[in-house]
Amino acid sequence: MNPAAASASAVLRPVRATFRAVAKTVVPDMAALDEAAWTRVEAIVERALADRPARMRRQLVVYMRLIDGLALARHGRRFRSLEADARQRLLERLQDSRVLLLRRGFWGLRTLVYMGWYAQPSTAEAIGYGAAKGGWAARPGLTPATPLPDVVPAHELVSRPEPGRPT
């Protein structure tokens, strides 16, 4: 985060309740988060926002207020107070809107939610993602189970085995 952007953090503060309600709709697993876990999610999102143009941060806040406004207009309640089905339908309408600006806005918001959740190493571990620096050697239990058919290489090469590696 650059110093100029640092002062722009806490973008989510005025729309936090809406953000959390959107996040729980986008990733239902997030419904179980405690306050400490939400803080971690929002810290990731705030860090990402801090390095983006101020215009983008303003648009995000406006977009979440629009979500609340649509919920009020259609259901007479704020987005966070809607039942799960109604939340889902409202966000689907934005995702599939004929207006590019609305689709794009939802795509951006949903991307921030995914970033705040799936970019956490603990989430990656929980869903079974296990890439490791040591590769195959670090994960001795894993071996390919699928037979590999013969395939034609794309080009004849200068060197067939890895250069400098014993065949």
Partner: protein, 500 residues
Amino acid sequence: MIVGSGAGGGTVAAEMAPLARDGRRVLVLEKGPRFRIEEFSGRELEMAGALYEDAGGFLTADGTMTLAFAHAYGGSTLVYTGTSLIVPERVIRDWGVPRLDHADVEARSRKYMAQNGVYYLPPERINDNNRLFVAGARAAGFHAEQFPLNLSGCFGASVCNLGCPNGAKMGTHRVQLPAAEAAGVEVVTRAEVLRLDAERNLYVRVTEKRPGEKGAASEWAPGEYRIRAGTVVLSAGAIGSPALLLRSGFGERLRRLGAGFTCHPAHILVAEHAAPITNDVGHPKSFFVDRAEQDGYVLETCMYFPFTTAKNLTGFGEPHAALMRAFPRLQMILVLACDKAADGNRVRVDRVGRPAVDYTFARHTIDSMVAATRASARIFFGAGALRVHAPSADPPLIEREDAARVDELIAAEHFLPGKVSVSAAHLMGGCAMGSDAGDSVTDSFGRVHDLPWLRIADASLFPDSLEINPYVTIMALSDRVAEGLRAEAALFPRAEAALA
């Protein structure tokens, strides 16, 4: 003066080594920092923020596509997967660039494939994600080919796009740049060229390393510099090179500057299998199916990280979350459309000089992506997948019992920009080669029309889409640029061609 140190700039730097040995000053200015191998943690956000423009989130002007490009010692060669292909003859023929023939490009491509240690991974190091692609392609009637790769000592960490934590990719950061520096070429990192003028002055900002930031501090003190150059080679990439020239005011005399941007728009497709497969271990991109000539697309194996995967799946809610929880059982394919240079798809700069990319998906590009998605679905089901996630299907999940209906379910009407995730990492065009200033920016040796002191050596030279992974061709064309510079240096040893 070389601006950028990726496949283009790194190649020119190494080829200028004889001049440096002869006492000429050859300087490379790189916007990004120099990383140590130990700094590549494999952690998604941390590395994306350190390596990529806008942390990998650089969007086209209308916000419908993400463009990925890196800033570092070695440029985007730090973050590619090392796939090393020679451009097909038909592509060079169709480009129609005078004095550019395929035999020359192929010979130079082979030079760099040898120099960078290209070979084929042996079968025992191929994971299930790749094996299932080959098996599925065979079952679906497609011809899968193995990628030649420029790896040395690959352990199969599977995080190529986040920088190899084992230093196994033989990019310019491992091969050409160290050789150039050993010969006396000077590389300055964290040095961004803000603009250049017709008197060959470059205005450069060297930035300070911030506390906690990855990468080494610059070789120069932070601050603003004006550097007078003899010859300038721009290798700042398909966005960086045209943007630098445009904000420097060269757009008036070079009318094609920024035009003809192409990028192989791509989808990440995912399928779920019944049992875990080896997918996040082993080299991620070892095979491909080339349908560029017939159907305008290429399919490649791939394996991405949780956030990147989540972002690239269409939709949200429980179906999306369930797919993410199935990560150890996921197979992935990257589909790339061979888009065509079109009016309106271009690089420009905004009112404060920042690069912007205008891009509209042409009908044939959408048709190619849809055809590629249908082909991938057949390959997934041919490999035994239970369900396939297809962005241009509504709903995006297609169950196995509907495998015979993929042509019906996957359709262009569901390709809704702003809803479906599209990303691109093969950024091309903007300073295209051609005959004269009426149709292009440079000649076939990267000489900018009517500005003999200015050269281009990167993917911005491509007059149209390359239809394969581009780094080998960038190196081949940059080799031609360097050859032209050396020849001129020999003719004019102390005057115009001197590199300041």
